[in-house]
Symmetry: C2
Subunit: 193 residues, 2 copies
């Protein structure tokens, strides 16, 4: 007779019900705490629930991770829209871009595994979030569409490569988001010179 055994079947008290939100939130928390994606069993333990209960809400672990990703991605920096005049155009967008990149990297650093999920996802939603905010920032530069496309591709993949390097490096301090300074400066020169 297992001491820890819980009663089987649907729980009585209504408020006790497991909710998708709770699962997602706990998953996020464990990702931060453990620095990696938790196993379904670990997640279930944290929720004080049987592992299989989670599968009632998410058809597979991949689907759960996609939900986590979608929920997190909107937290990246939201650029401020300005009415710019003359000289400001040349500098403001760089600061905004810097901030967007840092917040994106910070997110990918805080939640290891997010990156791979993001890139594996069927839905383009999460990837679109960054693109959207990027577009807002470079809007005042009035680049032609193909140039914007190339610029976005170069930046996104650069950031993903950098994030991957951070995630793979075991010693946390060897690599941090501040180090994009040089490359990002070079990048800015490329798209506006």
């Amino acid at each position: 007779m297992n001491v820890n055994a819980k009663k089987r079947g649907r729980p009585s008290r209504k408020g006790t019900a497991l909710k998708p939100e709770m699962i997602i939130d706990t998953a996020k928390q464990l990702m931060v705490e453990q620095g990696k994606i938790p196993s379904i069993r670990q997640l279930a333990t944290a929720l004080q629930v049987d592992a299989m209960a989670i599968y009632h809400y998410f058809k597979s672990k991949a689907v759960l991770l996609e939900a986590v990703t979608t929920s997190l991605i909107s937290d990246i920096y939201q650029p401020v829209v300005r009415v710019e005049s003359g000289a400001e155009v040349a500098t403001e967008w760089q600061a905004e871009l810097h901030q967007l990149c840092l917040s994106y990297l910070h997110l990918l650093e805080q939640y290891p595994g997010l990156l791979e999920t993001l890139l594996s996802m069927e839905s383009e939603g999460p990837a679109e979030v960054f693109a959207q905010r990027f577009t807002i920032i470079v809007e005042p530069l009035e680049l032609d569409p193909p140039a914007v496309e190339s610029a976005l591709a170069l930046l996104v993949d650069y950031l993903h490569g950098f994030a991957l390097a951070m995630n793979c490096n075991q010693d946390r301090d060897a690599l941090n988001p501040q180090m994009i300074e040089g490359p990002l400066g070079l990048y800015c020169k490329a798209i506006f010179c």
Copy 2:
């Protein structure tokens, strides 16, 4: 009595001995065939050997993968060193860089899992290979050291991000190395203008 059971203990005939090279080669082959890193058991089966035999040569799977990586990385494009004159400087290095990038991406595409191993490795050796060849190519541009460093960082992480995207995308044709054209052009503009 298992029909497939092999005799235990050290094999008699000398030539039969498993060699690290064989393990590495078979691992490479399976990576290409399966499009992912094989399990130790699969690798052992291909070698017609017990799984644990592999651990006699490599202390862990990670160490084996590092050996595979080190062995593969030297295959990337070796830039030709030229004596350039005047106008050629402005164009030749771009073609060389393009070729280097394509061969690097091709390698990372062909051997999924290589990227993560590369980035997780203690040894800087493999990472140095690309850096070395990059340096040869941009040498004639006579950039100052910090600029070279930034340029290398931007390019390497961009390529890693791109490679990761290729590896994560299940439909093979959605993403291929030819697509670096635009971003790479932009990049070249950045480092020499």
